[in-house]
């Protein structure tokens, strides 16, 4: 059964879209990663124009993060103050990202920029996960846990605008979460991802937040950053396909619930190794498409204005 996507202007199978949403939802549930970094490239492989893939991913992310944050909220593991301060940077960063997107689109380089950024993001993430999961797999054989300090003091603690975050039991400069939000926000605006895979480690290792508070707080601010990207993309590029986003979202939320239930029963390090391979495969396919001589050297786009 095919459904016509009014903005992408093509028909895709409902089941394929549900399946894609559910598959990424399961990954989200199992690993606690947003999975947006897989959603956009897979949509592009299916023939959805890159701009529409990015904007619609951001749209579905609004609902996916909201449904994800509920559980953390009920358990009290969302640091709203931290989330709101990160959001200051996140909103500015995502607005900058969408502006860059529009600029790149006008000079005909947006598809290239999206591909290159994805190769970098997926390649780095995949490589890091391979290293990390290999270490974890090896550690499995040699028991003995290495403890690390709760957090270390360094130059970042000398920054101004020190703020107390009660929930996270932190007293750090507000500039740190704002900058983090800003940097990840730019990527959200261009790539349509939440950036959880960057936010989560940065919040743990750079901000020094307690691990339990991290996923909820990161999801909380992603809701608003994704909403900002959706609005600005719809406003300046008219590339948000709400029908596509809705189908992906329904599959995604169901998949995430399945993933959350079965995740703990599976062996994490082996799964992470497999996910890392998947990320590297997507990055390899994208870089192959960039370097191989295209079937036609010419491409036609509708001029603006």
């Amino acid at each position: 059964m095919d459904v016509y996507l009014p903005i992408a202007e093509l028909s895709l199978s409902v089941f394929v879209l549900f399946g894609l949403g559910a598959g990424i939802g399961i990954i989200t549930g199992v690993f606690g990663l947003g999975g947006g970094f897989l959603m956009t490239p897979l949509l592009i492989f299916m023939g959805v124009p890159a701009g529409v893939a990015v904007a619609s991913s951001a749209n579905q992310l609004v609902g996916a993060s909201l449904s994800g944050v509920m559980g953390y909220w009920r358990r009290g593991s969302v640091d709203f103050k931290m989330g709101l301060i990160m959001l200051l940077g996140g909103l500015a960063g995502s607005a900058l990202g969408v502006w860059l997107f529009t600029l790149l689109k006008r000079i005909g380089q947006i598809e290239l920029a999206i591909s290159v950024l994805y190769v970098l993001v997926l390649g780095t993430l995949g490589a890091l996960m391979i290293i990390e999961s290999t270490r974890a797999l090896l550690r499995h054989r040699r028991p003995g846990v290495v403890r690390r300090k709760l957090h270390q003091h360094n130059w970042m603690h000398g920054l101004p605008l020190k703020t107390r975050f009660r929930r996270s039991k932190l007293y750090i400069s507000a500039l740190l979460p704002t900058t983090l939000g800003l940097v990840v926000g730019v990527l959200s605006g261009i790539l349509g991802i939440g950036g959880g895979f960057m936010l989560v480690p940065a919040m743990i290792y750079i901000l020094g937040m307690p691990t339990a508070m991290v996923p909820g707080t990161s999801l909380f601010q992603i809701i608003f950053v994704a909403a900002n990207v959706t609005f600005l993309q719809a406003y300046s590029n008219q590339t948000v396909d709400a029908v596509l986003a809705l189908l992906l979202l329904i599959g995604g939320v169901l998949g995430a619930q399945i993933g959350t239930r079965f995740g703990p029963r599976l062996r994490g390090d082996q799964l992470r190794f497999l996910l890392a391979l998947l990320l590297l495969a997507v990055a390899a396919k994208l870089s192959f498409d960039l370097t191989v001589r295209p079937a036609s050297l010419y491409a036609v786009t509708i001029a603006l204005g």
Binding site: D2, V3, Y4, P6, I7, E9, S11, N59, Q60, L61, V62, G63, A64, S65, L66, S67, M70, G71, G108, Q109, L112, V116, A227, T230, F231, L232, Q233, A234, Y235, S236, Q238, V240, A242, V243, A245, L246, L249, I250, V253, L254, Q257, T260, R261, L290, T291, V292, R293, P294, S296, L297, Y298, A299, V300, T301, I302, A303, L304, G305
Partner: protein
Amino acid sequence: MSAALSRWRACPYCAAALLWLALAAGPAHGAAVLADLSSHIIAIGGGFTGDSVVLFGSTDGPGDIIAVVRGPERGVTVWRKGKVAGIWVNAQSVTFDSVPSYYAVVASRPVEQLVQPEAAALYKIGPANLKLTPVSPVPPDRARLFAEALIEQQQRAGLFAADIGKVNFLGERLFRATLSFPANVPTGTYLVQVFLVRDGDVVSGQTTPLVVSKVGVDAAIFDLAIREPAAYGAIAIVTAVVAGWLASLPFRGV
């Protein structure tokens, strides 16, 4: 008004346009050719896989018929990829003004046998006669190369169709042709120009409009996204919020 005037003055085909107006306005009684379409609307709804309309009409005597179908004109940029640091990127571009979004020719005999090249050029019969002009000045060689690439790309996409049907005569005076449009037919107001050809020259013509438009929910969504982008963006966000919340309800307390 002044914009319209300058555009008119800038139009290098004024002669053709004027002649065309004269032909179209033509003799009030007993026009040499009369034509109409079985339907003036192509509705694109969910599951649209293309559609066809029948062009039919009569002539006042022997002759051949050429029909040119033109979609609404728009500016188009043609990019040429080049290899930069091992990656294929859009390197050069030429932007053309007033490129028909759809273009097709049907005729009762192969066009090149019917009209002399001058007439074909004057009435823009055949993609090669579209006289695509770059918006900003570029070397003629390059303009020609990019224009050819544009036509080739549009042909590959099925938007410049060399042959979408044939004009068949029923006897000497009645003709009909089935015009088939692909699933990716661009929306807008089309013009179907019907030319009566005798002895290698166009002797009469008639123009009839054809509207290609999206209908139904898809059309409403598309329209809203283009016309009210802010409202559409807000609705997209609210929809995602509600859907995300509803979809998580059954799992509450898990």
